[in-house]
Symmetry: C2
Subunit: 267 residues, 2 copies
């Protein structure tokens, strides 16, 4: 089911700035037993994105009601919420009174091989880099061509994810996931102030780690840091945590910190 501004629909206007300029935001949320998982955190990021892009936020009650409606009867699925600046304006210049478009849609659950979660994955490094842009860093906006290009670089289904670096060689994230390393009992994840999406699952893991008394560090990371790491994993709202077992010439064990965090998430 797709709801466009509350009405069942499958189309949007060609003039919508989401299409014209990638002028909007989205959230991808796991549905389990008709419930949107980590819903409040997703809404918090969406609101932050609206604030940053100067798009009037959607009233919480409206979203709540529509989310319940589209999740009805879904035991396992994916909810995508998109908010665009709507139509209007003069070229790139936004209209002075934007009328945002909200689109809620539900997709089938992606049946990733369970071995990715249980055993772990091989990660590759993408050639496509991420542009440094603090104005857009952190939020999950619709201008995602960098990720599309990076994800076009390989087809081997046994390699489910690729790492993206910025033009200075800092490791930022996967095409659809965030990255963590474990080193000297510290959980470390790349600084995203210049580019990248601050994932809801990344935030959740940082909180869990804090509750566990595990020291967390958010800092610029290079490939050399990944080589030295004891454990490596990626995460997002749909996959949860996937251990990384191989990256280039480096191999990693499925270590105790990764395992522990995976267990926490399943409970």
């Amino acid at each position: 089911m797709i709801l466009v501004n509350g009405k069942v629909a499958s189309d949007i206007e060609v003039t919508d700035r989401g299409l014209q300029y990638g002028d909007g935001l989205f959230e991808t949320i796991a549905i389990h037993d008709e419930r949107a998982i980590l819903y409040s955190s997703h809404l918090k990021r969406l609101e932050e994105g609206c604030r940053r892009l100067l798009i009037p936020p959607i009233a919480r009650e409206i979203l709540d009601e529509e989310v319940v409606k589209v999740c009805q009867g879904i035991s396992r699925g994916v909810l995508k919420i998109m908010v665009t600046r709507g139509s209007g304006g003069r070229g790139y210049q936004p209209p002075s009174q934007p009328q945002p478009t909200r689109i809620l849609s539900v997709y089938p659950w992606p049946n990733y091989p369970s071995i990715f979660m249980e055993y772990g994955i091989t990660l590759r490094v993408c050639r496509t880099s991420l542009g440094y842009n603090p104005s857009l860093a952190g939020i999950k906006h619709l201008s995602r061509l960098e990720q599309v290009l990076a994800r076009s670089e390989w087809k081997n289904p046994m390699i489910p994810e690729g790492l993206m670096l910025d033009s200075q060689g800092h490791v930022i994230e996967g095409t659809m996931s965030n990255l963590f390393i474990v080193q000297d009992a510290h959980l470390q994840t790349p600084d995203l102030s210049g580019c990248g999406v601050a994932g809801v699952m990344r935030e959740f893991i940082l909180k869990q780690a804090f509750n566990l008394g595990l020291k967390t560090v958010v800092r610029p990371l290079m490939l050399a840091d990944l080589k030295r790491a004891e454990e490596l994993f990626i995460c997002n709202s749909l996959i949860g945590i996937w251990p990384v077992r191989r990256l280039g010439e480096s191999q990693y064990p499925l270590g105790p910190v990764t395992r522990h965090l995976q267990h926490l998430m399943q409970s």
Copy 2:
């Protein structure tokens, strides 16, 4: 009139990757007496964009026919051609056999004050920077949130354009235009290998200058180079050439090279 894949329509599918990820390209073309101006150059850039993004190009005959159709009866207007990767794929991963969506639409001619062309404009410098990304540089893709944010920075209609720099401080382009400077009888324009859109009008001006025997230089430019310049102008397919008379504390004359190029374009 809007044609979506050849049919009169005003909507496209929500699942289209143009909306979902900014996964596509566009051209903005002046229409004069039912003719699309610099049409071949626009199509060449569109084809180059398709090649770079691995989107199957639209057959030339199909586009030609649809362009004639939408331009019919239009004495002055704007033709926008969009090509997206269509629907499908798995997340960011493009489908193996993309079915591109083509959208042709006609908009009213923007009635810019004629003083901008005749006397010139005041240009400002935007805070929003352009991310360095050679994979996307040059082409006119749909992930344009940087331009939207830059164009949101000011509302004063007497300032019709803002300059965008990359994160290293190189001057790249205007939000909707390219930039030229004249210095020691050389026509210079920023190198766009790291970011920016290689405008069709920029290309046309470079050719005209070559034919005039004017030496042209494409190189990295800084704000200091602009300060020292004898003449400054911006250009795009709709505005033609607008002289820049003021940028920050610097003032510029409406110089002979700018004037000469303007005359050539009107002939």
